[in-house]
């Protein structure tokens, strides 16, 4: 750090002393951003907890409308994508650009699988009239088991939480496509892989959020 006569490689911006300082700063910045994300989702979790504490029977009834199996599959898909992103970082650190690209590609595919499954889940619910807000118009087979005056609120929370989470997945896919292209252009190496590393952090957080969403929304008996 104190060695100020180190040469200034091309990827180091002018206001940093060296590559390590830039790398550490980027990572710290990402962590601070993740703090933001946690409190952003925190608001939704807070609303969830308060309504669940008020209407426990509603949550038990409403969760029956969600499909545990597909939720579980999606959890495992996201875990897999977290694994491949970690592998991508490892490849970059070892200067294996081909491995980096392959791992990124698998991650992108898994993220897409997640969204496709999510799409079919939404589709199914919308079909039954389980829709947010004033589209709320449950079919008779739903109201047979779900008979609660606040039922719409559970699904508002469900749609907000999974919707915003899905949006984060979408952003993650975009970022990873960008990384994939840059990796193809030879921008990354063991010397410089900061964008891969911090996108990885972001992606793990998206996974973390889902790890809590899954039991809280799907697994209420």
């Amino acid at each position: 750090m104190a060695n100020h006569s180190a040469s200034h490689p091309a990827h180091v911006q002018h206001h940093f002393v060296d590559s390590d300082q830039q790398f550490d700063s980027a990572k710290l910045g990402m962590w601070v951003f993740l703090v933001n994300e946690i409190l952003f989702f925190g608001g939704l979790f807070c609303a969830y907890i308060i309504f669940r504490a008020w209407y426990p029977e509603l949550f038990t009834q409403a969760a029956l409308q969600l499909d545990k199996v597909w939720g579980g599959v999606n959890t495992i898909v996201l875990i897999g994508s977290s694994l491949t992103v970690a592998m991508a970082i490892r490849s970059a650190q070892r200067n294996e650009i081909k491995g980096l690209r392959i791992n990124l590609m698998i991650t992108i595919l898994l993220a897409c699988v997640f969204l496709v499954i999510k799409y079919f889940e939404y589709e199914h619910k919308l079909h039954l009239g389980i829709a947010p807000g004033f589209f709320w118009n449950p079919a008779p087979e739903v109201t047979a088991t779900l008979d609660h005056p606040q039922a719409n609120i559970f699904f508002s929370i469900y749609y907000m939480m999974t919707g915003i989470h899905g949006l984060h997945v979408l952003v993650g896919i975009g970022l990873m496509i960008w990384l994939y292209i840059r990796a193809g252009k030879g921008h990354f190496s063991a010397e410089y892989y900061t964008p891969v590393e911090i996108t990885g952090l972001y992606w793990h957080l998206v996974d973390l959020i889902w790890i809590f969403l899954f039991p809280l929304l799907y697994l209420i008996e």
Binding site: H4, S25, L39, F40, A47, I153
Partner: protein
Amino acid sequence: MAITEAKKMTTLQVKRFKPSENPTNTFLTDEKGVWAWMTTVDHKKIGIMYLVAVAFFFALAGFLAIALRTELWTPAKTFIEADTYNQLFTLHGAMMVFFVLVPSIPAALGNFILPMQLGAKDVAFPRLNLASLYIYVAGAIFTFAALASGGFDTGWTFYTPYSSDGNGAGVIWVTLGVFILGFSSILTGTNFITTIHKLRAPGITWDRLPLNIWALYATSIIQVLATPVLAITILLLSFENIMDIGIFDPALGGDPVLFQHFFWFYSHPAVYIMIVPGFGIISEVISTFSKKTVFGYWAIALSSLAIAFIGFLVWGHHMFTSGQSAVATTVFSFLTFLVGIPTGIKIFNWIATLYRGSIDMKTPMLYVFIFLFLFSIGGFTGIMLGALSVDIHLHDTYYVVAHFHYVMMGGTLIALLAGLHYWWPKMTGKMYNEKLAQISAVLIFIGFNMTFLPQFIMGAQGMPRRYYNYIDQFTPFHQTSTIGSYILGVAFLIILYYLVKSLFSGEKAPSNPWNSRGLEWQSTSPPDFHNFDHTPVVINGPYDYHKPMEEFQLGLAVSHEGHDAEHAPAEVDTTEEKA
């Protein structure tokens, strides 16, 4: 923190760099033209652009305030309709809070000063810094769109169900504007935290950080923790408006008080986002103009962090009459008293700093005294409002209005003026007219007290806030208040006049007009594009007025990079120091 330790153990070759009094090359001459400014990543230019934007919104919102006060000249309608009045006070409040006070000190002055006080060339993420400015502008555009689509009259607090009962597109636009603005605040906070952790010049250990940096650090932490909650609240509110999701709307089974919890979970900490950077400025100015080490460095530094923390636990004091449970109100009332403690600690330490200092009553110092007086009143009345039973009587009266103007205007804005006058020579390279500056400071003091002292009395007697008419007995108070606001208006015009004039015909500013020991003053006025043409090395605390000036002008003797090698410093003393 291993890196700092590694630094301590290395012997650095340092020499003295005395800042030139006649810089030929500054950040103002380096990149010229509108395009260069608009695409710059230089924290100094971005800070100045923020300052201009903030000043613009301050003028706009201030103009609205004058209109509101004029309407209140007579008990009945004076010249605007009740509905228009509701829209104007909402716009005034929302703009002053979100467009002026929240970004003012951190994004405008802080952006300029923070990297300089750290001896850094820029903030950690210069492009995000520029992005935050444009996001701010985008937020502003949304607010104007709200005006174009019918306006909004919910008050700056956007309480449901006022804001959710479908009263038009205006609310959606403005809340989305605030949502966007939040991101600009988050980016600034993220940038500052990273910069303070990673970009300190050699020798700037945590116990040598200027108190302004500690204050900005605490502020950034609050920004990062609180602003996302505002963002999600507004998103939920927007969906409430767009498609009736029912979380906040009582008609759909939701809970409007939950909205208030979410809103104040941001907005009470946000009042500290506004005031804590002001504390930082006060600490700097008070030490410089007393020529004395600040008393209780750690007490002031850590009380900022304590305020940041406790500030998250008191939000319910805005909801004493909302139907919140009695348990919660009692706890919130108790915790509210606790916030007074770290604030009081600061005031005592500042007073102790003044004690036996050689006090120089220049304009920035004048503002410090105004601050101490006004902010103390604001703080005390806050404690009174925090007392549960008292607040049941005073809630939603002019007493609250007076309280928050004493802290927000008497505190934050006065501190901003202190900082602006303090750093103006550094930022522009020009001196302003000291006599006019002092006159307007006094006018502000008089005008401010005329405007807001009567509001305490009216409020205690039961004058509710947010009304455009009132019963006759309040006429003298309202009229005094209105006259006071005109005096304030005139004072601000004078400030605008001499500051702008100084740009064109002001005396040239020396590099260190106040003989401060602060690192930011060891650059040229205005600073070089890279702030310093060397890497500064710090061996003393930021307020060590008992040490000679030379010891504050050290830099690495060996330049580690090619650029700027050609700007050789004017005077070079070669010394060797163990840093």
